[in-house]
Every structure is written in C-alpha cells, then in structure tokens.
C-alpha cells in the first residue's frame, strides 16, 4: 500500500489520538561463498510499514503497534487499525505526550551505488587477504544494502533518511600440522574502504594462525593482577551496559545502579552519545519517535553528568527527552600498556554481561600474553569480573577503534580480573 493511503486511513479513524508511521525500504545484494566459490547470490527488495497507534485521555496513554504487509488492502488495513485502537484502549499506561512537531530532516538519495558491483568489489577485497598457504577463508558472507527510512506522525513531523551498510561475516581457518582451527568475525561499516576490509581480514587470518599454535594457561605463569585488555563486542557490551543503566527507563523501573553524580568510570574519562559518527553503521539523525537527535555528554570526569532517554520516560521523570541516541563516543587519558606485561583478549566464544548483577567475561578462544618481550598466544581459559567494580579503575588504550555504535579507545584495560 502507498504511504499516503495508510495515512489517509489513520486520519479517518477519529478514535486515534496520535499515530507514528515508520516505513523502511531495504534494497540489498548478498554473496555467499564456500571457500572461494560463490554458492548463492541474493537480492532483497522489501518494504516494512510499522504503525504505532495511540489512544490517550488526561490520565492514560495506550498504544499498539501494527504492521502493514503486502497482503493488506484498504479493507484489511481499516480492520487492522480498528483492532489496534481496541488494543491501545486496553494498554492503559500513565499519560505521556508524543514529542512536539520536529523540524524535518529530508536527506537526498544521492548515493546511487550499483549494489551488485559494490558487493563483488567487497568480495575481491576480502579474498585479496586470502594469500596464505596454511590459512584460508572457509566461508564468507557479504551484505551490501541501501536503507531508506521514512517517518510520519500525527503532529506533522516528516523525516526521510538514507543509510548504506556493508557487512561481512568471515570464518578464517588455519592448519597447523593437519590440526585446523578457526575464528569468527562479523564486520560492519557504513563507509566504502576496500583497503580497510583487506586489512581487517588479513588481521583475522593471522589471529587464526596464532590460535593454531596457542598454548594453555598451564604452559605460562601469568603475573598476579595482570592488565587485561578487551575490545570489539565485549567492549561494546560493557560501555553499552553503562549507558543503558543511566537511561530514564532503568531509573523509572528502579533497575539502575547509578544516578547523577555517581562515579562510573575512572577519573578523567568522558562518555558522549552522538547521533552520527563517521564509519559507525548505527548512526541515525532521528530516533524511532521522530526526535531530531543531538549529542549528549553523559559522563564527565568519570561521573554521571546527565541522564538520558526517550520522551515517554523523560515525561514520567520530569526530565528533558534526549531521544534514543545511537552512537557512544568514549574519551579520556590514554594509557601506554605496550611495555608492561599484559593479556590481550582477541576473541571470546561468546562475551557475556549480566546487567543486573554485573558479571562479565566468558570463555576465551584467543588471547595474546605479552611477557615483557614477546606475545604468546593462549586459548582455552575463561575470565570474569564485576563490571560495576571494574570500570571504576579502567584505563583507555592509545589506539582507537570505530565500531558499529562506538568510537573511542580500541581497548579497555582492566586490572584484578579473575583468570581461570
């Protein structure tokens, strides 16, 4: 159905107090390789129309989400809307208003890539790194997508934004005297940089090589209170958990560990949420409620300076709504770990973090122990700690990283972590 027809049906239903419509159009090309042969190529051209219907009075706001699919016509759309109104009336939540009309963000769709062409160039960049005799890429999946999002609400807000994403999943494998080991990586970016992709894949293959000769904890004697460095998924989980903890929603449900003024990170460290950061594929100018996003500095000198969140929980707590800001930027004094003994965790089986009790860690597939002179690859052990304690003395590495929703130091450096 056309968006105008959906909006017409929404406007015609007088029981609706407010509505929001998010229409997402995805056009993607996908390549699936086994070793270096292309097994399947795919094209995806889909549209999703999701409506949130609000029914309010002075004391409550009820809402219901409904999805409009390709099979819907005017008759079934009106039926779905009518049912959603009924559901919204049953979902009696304390009153909150929708955000006021926002200044429109209308992005031009000027990046017209030939998606098949980009996908094949990404494949060439990936396989350029596939140059080793004992190491190879076992399987590779490449996704290249244009995503167009349209937002409309009953207040008159209208946004049109365009996104571009490249995602690569690779399984690098290395054989050492017939014994094969592998690693896993899902790499996402919003920028086209083929050389960077080759560099990432090459680093992964060399990590697989390290795992093939990795020793166990029995073979080395780690110093007590060795510095432990974590990156990528674990780093994102740790920093993301801190940000979620000081969200209005956590406060409202009394599940927060921190409040304004509390010490969260080590001295001098700051954390800012930003809508758009170059290279971060989760960047968004507007959130799911249509709020035009601005940067918000949440942590200053290690302490909580500002809480954040969407319009609903901001209203309940009588705070300013920041909207759902997607990208975390971390900064502060940098620590040079390179000369002292340290344990660099390259790859977890599955990084774990329990937001309620603060447990973090997991089984390590590949780590590198620097004994003061050289790196020794290690595997088959676990680490664990408590994030609400450990972050208060965290150090930041000198190197930087850009991840899907994070920009900042490449490594978080912890002391006193359990290694077992």
């Amino acid at each position: 159905m056309k968006i105008q027809d959906i909006i017409k049906c929404l406007k015609n239903n007088k029981a609706i107090s407010d509505y929001q419509l998010i229409s997402t159009e995805k056009d993607s090309r996908e390549l699936f390789y086994v070793l270096d042969h292309l097994e399947i190529n795919r094209a995806v051209k889909v549209v999703s129309n999701v409506i949130t219907i609000y029914v309010s009075n002075a004391s409550f706001t009820g809402s219901s989400v409904v999805t409009i699919s390709s099979g819907d016509d005017e008759k079934s759309l009106n039926k779905k809307i009518k049912e959603a109104v009924k559901k919204a009336k049953e979902a009696k939540n304390p009153y909150y208003p929708l955000p006021d009309k926002q200044e429109s963000i209308i992005e031009k769709d000027d990046k017209k890539y030939d998606l098949n062409d980009v996908a094949l160039k990404v494949a060439k960049a990936v396989y350029k790194a596939n140059k080793y005799e004992s190491g190879w890429l076992n399987s590779t999946e490449i996704f290249v997508s244009n995503v167009k999002s349209r937002f409309f609400d009953s207040k008159g807000t209208k946004h049109i934004t365009n996104g571009f994403e490249i995602a690569v999943e690779v399984i690098p494998t290395w054989s050492n005297n017939g014994e094969e080991v592998e690693l896993y990586k899902y790499y996402e970016t919003s920028s086209i940089n083929y050389d960077e992709i080759t560099k990432e894949i090459d680093e992964l293959l060399l990590n697989a090589k390290e795992r093939s000769v990795a020793k166990t904890l029995k073979d080395v004697k780690l110093p007590k209170d060795i510095k432990v460095l974590v990156k990528n998924d674990m780093l994102q989980d740790i920093v993301g958990n801190t940000v979620n903890d000081i969200n209005y929603r956590s406060l409202y449900f009394k599940e927060n560990h921190y409040n304004k003024g509390d010490v969260v990170l080590s001295q001098g460290v700051s954390l800012t949420l930003k809508p758009v950061v170059k290279g971060c594929s989760k960047s968004m100018k507007v959130d799911n409620n249509g709020i035009v996003l601005k940067a918000a500095k949440l942590i200053k000198d290690g302490k909580v300076a500002k809480l954040w969140g969407d319009n609903r929980f901001a209203y309940y707590l009588n705070k300013e709504a920041t909207g759902n800001i997607p990208v975390i930027e971390l900064d502060g004094p940098r620590y040079d770990y390179s000369k002292e003994k340290h344990l660099l965790i390259e790859n977890f089986s599955a990084p774990q973090l329990e937001e309620t009790n603060g447990y973090w860690g997991g089984e390590v597939r590949l780590a590198k122990y620097f004994d003061g002179k050289k790196y020794i690859p290690l595997t088959g052990f676990s680490i664990s700690g408590n994030i609400y304690e450990d972050l208060k003395s965290v150090n930041l590495s000198k190197e930087d990283a850009t991840l899907p929703d994070y920009k900042g130091p490449k490594y978080l450096i912890f002391t006193g972590i359990q290694i077992h």
């Binding site: 995805k26 090309r29 699936f32 086994v34 070793l35 270096d36 042969h37 292309l38 097994e39 399947i40 190529n41 795919r42 094209a43 995806v44 051209k45 889909v46 809402s63 219901s64 989400v65 409904v66 999805t67 699919s69 390709s70 099979g71 959603a84 009924k86 559901k87 919204a88 049953e90 979902a91 939540n93 304390p94 098949n116 062409d117 094949l120 060439k124 396989y127 076992n138 999943e169 094969e180 592998e182 896993y184 409202y252 449900f253 009394k254 599940e255 089986s349 599955a350 774990q352 309620t356 009790n357 447990y359 860690g361 997991g362 089984e363 597939r365 676990s382 664990s384 359990q418 077992h420």
Partner: protein, 459 residues
C-alpha cells in the same frame, strides 16, 4: 486456516515458476506470513502489539551451477525480468565450481495445527495481571514483566513438482521478576511453550511461586569459585548442552564447509554410552514443530547420537545434495528476507533409568545447575560455553541451600559428554528458545532432555 493472501497467491506463484523456468533450470517459491501477537503486563507498563509480523516471498532459481534468490513482498505484480535483472552478476568473482541441481518428487499436501484454546485479549490480561500482582506481594520485588506471545505461521511452497501449504500456531508465556536489596539487583525468569494458550498460561501460573522464591534467594547468591565440579543439570541446561555440543556441531552445511569436526566422527564414540540424542520438527511437539521446512522437505526425527556413538547430522536440501545424503527437513530461514541454512529444530537428549533423588545423593561436592542463560558453539574445535542462570550447592548428597550465580560451563565437548555418569528417567523439552547461527539468523527452537550428572569446569 491458512492465511487468505498466501492462499490467493498460489496461482500467481505457479505462473511465476512457469515463466522463470524459461530462463532457469530450477525454480521454487516460498511464501511466508507470520502474525505475532504480544501482550505484556508489567509493573508499570502494559502493551498489546503485533511484533515480528511479516509477509513475503522468496524465489529460488538455479542456472549454470549456482543458486540465486530474490526476496520480495509481493509476487502478484512481479515481472520475471525484474528477478533476472537483480540476480544477474556481471563478471562474478568466483572460482570454477558447480553446485548440483535439486531434484524433487511430486508432493501436494495441506497441513494445519491451530491453537484450540484461544483466549480473548481481556482474559489474557486478567491472567497475566494476577501473576504480576502475586509477585508484588513480596517487598523485595521491584519489577515484574509477564508476557504472552502467540505466533501464527502460514507458509506455501510452490515448485514444478510441489505445492505445499501449512498453518501452525505456537504460544509462549513468560515471567521475569527483578528483586532488589539496596544496590544488589537480581532477576529470575520462567518461560512456557505450548500449542495451546490455556496450557501456556496455566503453566506460567503454576511455575510462578518458585520463580519468585529463586528471585529473592538470588539476592544472597555469591559468585562460584572457579574450578572442576560434579554437576547435575536440569532439563533446560541438559538441552542447552545438547544444542551447543552436538546440535550446531552436526549442522551439515558446516560439513560442506569442512567446519565441523563431527564430520570425521560418524560411527565413533563422542559421549558416554548412556547418551541418546535427537533433533527434528517431527520429534516432539514444540517450538519448531513445523510440517515442512523452508526447502519444502517434510519434517523428520533424526537420531544424532545412539548409546554414545555419533550416527548422523541434520541437513537442509542443498547441503544434503552436495554431500550425497538425504535431507532431514532442517532447512530454515530467519524470515523470507534471509537465506536458508541447516538449523536445529527440537533438540534433546533421550531419557535414562536413574531417579533424580539418587543422582543428588551420589554427589560428594558439586552444583545442581538451572535455567538456560546463553551458550556458544565451536563446531570446528569442539569447545563449548553454556551459562546457567544459577546453581544450588550439593554437599555429601544433600542440597546445602547455598546459591551461586551465574555459572558458566566451559570445556571440550567430548570430555563433558563422556563424563556423564547418570541420566534421569524423565525428559522435558522447553519450547521457548531462540538460536542464532554465528551471531545472526535467529530462529525459534526448543531443547531439553533428562537430568544429567557429569563432571565440568565451572566459572
């Protein structure tokens, strides 16, 4: 009843197959509609939404030794030339390799399994509210969420030789309780999975007092001292081990990629002789009990391990074709927008002969582990990581009352499975799980088994 729109799309699908066959050697179309109703009643939040609802099609074609797929929302107005244009690669980057073409047998059938005890929204809200209010009678409880989810799945599969339709429902009911004592916050949950709304909600109500009891007791829980212990796993943790150890490990698309060590262990011992293990949409009635998979292959029950010996893997059609084996009905997609992979369905260990009481009595010092938190596989190197939400200490054959959280089991799959020394005489399969492949491609699964006694590294 099968979704009307999908039913009305069958003639268009047959026509599109006919048209596309002029350019391709094989064509099939999968149509999928998933309607998901979610009702949440929480401490300070109520919602009635349609989430994860979708409707669309995926067209699979074969030519010159390669498969291609086109995912779209509608086929009634789709031109064959649009499909061809989107799937044509100029100078494809690939080595010379030709995948074989799928051969199918004639099969026309309709399948149906619906929720016979459907309840009104008002009735569901009333039942969830009663459970939530019960939890709040305890002053340590700060937040409760009760959730009812009903998924109604309709699918059609159309090719030159097949025209299949299926409609089935699955219902989950969940409870999550958060407790707090000053800065100490803990949570506990329970999930039911049933083919009937009434059974799911009744099950949740029955389980709720114990969920609350554990949520409160967890406030006194300590982290476990890392080390090697004797463990007893509840059916949820047994299922998690089955899933991570020889579920992912025998997905045969991994055999094609030479990514699974299991490929070389068929016919060999991989577990204690007390162990039998199964997977299959037709194995038990649970979260992944469909009638045919996303390749149009009928549901199977596959015995993976028999008396400790690895028997076979599970496969989608394309993997089976490449390996020269029979497909086991395990070809699944996250949605019509995604590729098909070999995926688990309902995965479980078979029952043994031991009584749970005897198993506990036999433990000198160890932990009774409960409730799946999460897990991760490593099919190539057979490392395993399974996290239980909590454990109860056992000393000299008795539960001491001491509780630990969380508990991470890790180690080498064969060591863990070979150490199993007792298997209980009752099996429970829990139909409320989700499983990813790598870190994506989420599908609904169930897993379970009996209580198991084993030796494991805990951290």
């Amino acid at each position: 009843m099968l979704n009307k729109y999908l039913k009305s799309s069958i003639p268009a699908a047959k026509n599109l197959v006919k048209e596309l066959r002029k350019n391709y050697d094989y064509v099939s179309i999968l149509g999928s509609e998933v309607l998901t109703k979610r009702i949440l009643v929480g401490t300070a939040n109520t919602s009635l939404d349609e989430v994860e609802t979708e409707c669309g099609f995926v067209i699979k074609v074969y030519k010159n030794g390669r498969y291609s797929e086109y995912s779209c929302d509608d086929i009634k107005n789709l031109k064959p030339s649009d499909v061809k244009k989107a799937l044509t690669l100029k100078n494809p980057f690939t080595s010379e390799f030709k995948v074989k073409m799928l051969e199918e047998k004639e099969h026309v059938e309709d399948f149906l399994r619906e929720d016979k005890d459907s309840l009104s929204n008002g009735e569901i809200i009333k039942r969830l509210t009663a459970i939530k209010d019960d939890m709040h009678k305890n002053e340590k409880v700060i937040n409760v969420n009760t959730v009812y989810i009903k998924r109604q799945i309709s699918k059609i599969f159309v090719s030159e030789k097949k025209c299949l339709t299926q409609k089935y429902d699955w219902i989950n009911a969940m409870l999550m309780v958060v407790t707090r004592d000053k800065d100490n916050i803990k949570s506990n949950y329970h999930a039911e999975g049933e083919a009937s709304s009434l059974k799911a909600l009744n099950g949740l109500k029955k389980a709720s007092p114990e969920v609350l009891d554990i949520a409160v007791r967890l406030l006194d829980a300590k982290p476990i001292k890392p080390g090697k212990y004797t463990i007893i796993t509840d059916p949820s943790i047994s299922g998690l081990i089955a899933h991570e150890a020889f579920g992912h490990g025998v997905e045969m698309d991994m055999f094609v990629k030479n990514r699974a060590k299991a490929k070389n262990y068929v016919g060999k011992y991989v577990a204690s002789p007390l162990i039998d293990m199964y997977d299959g949409a037709a194995g038990v009635l649970s979260a992944a009990s469909y009638f045919f998979d996303d390749d149009g292959v009928e549901a199977h029950k596959t015995q993976i391990i028999k008396k400790g010996i690895l028997q076979t893997g599970i496969s989608d059609s394309l993997s089976a074709l490449t390996l020269g084996t029979v497909p086991t009905g395990n070809g699944r997609r996250e949605s019509y927008k995604r590729k098909v992979y070999t995926r688990m369905t309902n995965t479980y260990f078979g029952k043994g002969k031991d009584k749970l009481e005897d198993m506990i009595k036999s433990v000198k010092h160890g932990y009774f582990l409960f409730q799946t938190n999460n897990g991760m596989e490593d099919p190539k190197n057979w490392q395993i990581q399974c996290t239980a939400s909590y454990g109860l200490e056992i000393k000299d054959g008795k539960l001491t009352g001491k509780i630990v959280t969380p508990v991470v089991i890790s180690g080498y799959v064969v060591d863990l499975l070979s150490s199993i020394s007792m298997v209980s005489d009752k099996v429970k399969v829990i139909g409320s799980g989700m499983c990813g492949k790598g870190h994506k491609e989420w599908v609904y699964v169930s897993d379970g088994g009996p209580y198991l006694k084993a030796e494991a590294k805990l951290g």
